[in-house]
């Protein structure tokens, strides 16, 4: 997730978009790629996501994650599905040790395309959305503020625990504990740190609980408000409804295909 001050991302057209729109698009487009038996569809969606990533100023890390995930998974599934899929009937290449089947390759493309579509949508949501805005948007559509608190606190408390761990580690190494060396040695050094980290975290949790109580966390009768706001522009609505309509059309086409009225793929 981006920080509240990452203006170079948050003030792009994608960054400004309502988080619910981005989450909805990721979900509906991903499901569309999943249910429609069109092997190339996921790649079209992924290509469109490249444009969104460029608009959101995250093209480089986006390309890195897509290719670093896409290439190995494609090769792995090409081997498994292409050579050994039970669907294989039409063989397009004989490699000696096994034959490459067209049906398996198409199935592999469908799986990889679908995975990339979900990955791309969720990555863009994650990398162009400030978590505070996402939680505010989820609260707006009815998520409980307590669930919102859990989401935010979990994400924010991890760096704090890491800092504490680092502090304890430094204190331990100042007293002669070796914290360097091989992976096994580092793991051994890590074990004695766990006790102090867990115990101090429990003490901290009590004080944090007190803070929350004195800040009205337990209030039930009040409507929760937020300093962070989300706009829901006509463009947001159009994109979200567009994605939903796409999904509905995909469902209809899949059903028609299933009953044999039309043939897809």
């Amino acid at each position: 997730m981006v920080g509240a001050n990452d203006k170079h991302i948050l003030e792009t057209p994608v960054g400004r978009m309502n988080p619910i729109t981005k989450a909805g698009v990721a979900l509906f487009v991903g499901l569309t790629a999943l249910i429609l038996p069109i092997s190339w569809l996921g790649f079209v969606f992924t290509a469109l996501y490249f444009i969104a990533a460029a608009k959101g100023n995250i093209l480089k890390p986006f390309a890195k994650i897509i290719f670093s995930f896409g290439i190995p998974i494609t090769l792995m599934l090409l081997f498994i599905q292409g050579f050994y899929s039970p669907l294989n009937k039409t063989f397009i290449l004989d490699c000696g040790f096994a034959k490459l089947g067209l049906e398996g390759v198409l199935n592999m493309l469908h799986i990889v395309g679908t995975l990339l579509t979900f990955l791309a949508g969720l990555y863009i949501l994650n990398q162009t959305t400030y978590i505070g805005r996402l939680v505010a948007a989820l609260n707006d559509i009815g998520m409980s503020p307590k669930a919102g608190y859990l989401t935010l606190a979990t994400l924010n408390v991890v760096p704090q625990m890491q800092r504490r761990m680092h502090g304890i580690q430094e204190a331990q190494s100042a007293r002669g504990l070796s914290t360097g060396g091989s992976a096994l040695e580092r793991f051994k050094a890590f074990i004695p740190l766990l006790g102090p980290v867990v115990l101090s975290s429990l003490t901290d949790a009590q004080e944090r609980g007190m803070t929350l109580e004195t800040h009205g966390f337990g209030l039930k009768e009040n409507k929760h408000t937020s300093l962070v706001t989300n706009t829901n522009t006509p463009t947001d609505k159009a994109i979200l409804y567009g994605a939903a309509v796409l999904f509905v059309v995909a469902v209809v086409l899949t059903v028609l295909n299933g009953v044999g009225i039309i043939a897809i793929g």
């Binding site: 001050n5 505070g132 966390f217 337990g218």
Partner: protein, 284 residues
């Protein structure tokens, strides 16, 4: 005559898991605008008293309780902690444990309590701006609270209590973990708030500061009030050390001069009268 904002009536409390009472038969009142310092050695009951004043005892820390505490006429046992937070704020030692861990910016951290109380956003923005100026954190309002120094975080913590617009603030050794500069910054702000009419109850170990600023000092020892009064009255008591309280250095200087034969009419506990006394001693 100023109205009473805190009334503690024969208040005793024992934590469920302990055998001894942490607070025993406390009985005192604090008037609006007073600066009250609570002193005593570790384990004397200062933090329990601070928790009791804001309702955490007995609503968060359960145990055996006798007597009652009234905050602006509201019994802390029968008023929710959230409701009390609009009358009395609490700031404690570790600044980082007073963050909500839900905020990406100082502004959001300050606004956290207001969000829970359902304050409309427009009012929230106005209050955040005002408190940020008072706390001198308006220049870091867009920063992540987890990236700030201890002193800055403590000012954020104090701000997030004061944004609820309480009449009273309780500071439980809130400068202990800060460097001298950070500590003085917090203290300056508290002094200004007190000068503007806010009631302050502060648990502190810095006796010079207590002597300088308190209208009233309460000394706790093993949960009991063993001395109470103005700084001069309290610090002049000869048995203070027996209760684990070291008097201010200025008083020690004055006592040394007195022992050396210098005529001391009234024992000073702060800097300026001590300097005057030393000057007189030199001239005589």
């Amino acid at each position: 005559m100023a109205e009473e904002v805190i009334r503690v009536e024969d208040f005793s409390f024992k934590y469920r898991q302990t055998k001894k009472y942490a607070l025993k038969h406390l009985d005192f009142a604090i008037k609006k605008g007073e600066f009250v310092c609570v002193i005593g050695q570790n384990g004397s009951g200062k933090s329990t008293l601070a928790s009791a004043l804001v309702g955490l005892v007995p609503q968060y820390f359960v145990g055996n309780l006798h007597g009652r505490i009234l905050i602006e006429g509201h019994d802390t046992q029968h008023t929710s902690i959230s409701e009390l937070s609009t009358m009395i704020g609490l700031v404690f030692q570790n600044p980082f444990n007073q963050l909500s861990y839900t905020a990406g910016t100082v502004a959001e951290e300050l606004a956290y309590g207001l969000c829970n109380h359902g304050v409309p956003r427009e009012e929230m923005v106005e209050r955040v701006d005002r408190i940020a100026r008072i706390m001198r954190i308006d220049h870091i309002i867009d920063k992540n609270p987890l990236e700030l120094s201890g002193g800055q975080v403590q000012r954020v913590a104090l701000g997030s209590s004061l944004i609820m617009e309480p009449e009273i603030v309780v500071l439980d050794e809130c400068t202990t973990q800060l460097d001298p500069m950070g500590s003085e910054e917090i203290f300056d702000i508290v002094k200004n708030l007190n000068a503007d009419g806010m009631t302050v109850v502060m648990a502190d170990h810095d006796m010079e500061r207590v002597a300088r600023c308190a209208d009233c000092v309460i000394v706790l020892d093993r949960g009991e009030i063993v001395a109470q009064g103005s700084p001069n009255e309290v610090f002049s008591q000869p048995d203070l050390r027996e209760h684990g309280v070291e008097p201010p250095d200025f008083l020690k200087i004055a006592l040394a001069l007195k022992e050396a034969g210098v005529k001391v009419d009234r024992l000073p506990v702060t800097e300026e009268p001590t300097i005057e006394l030393v000057k007189e001693a030199i001239h005589s």
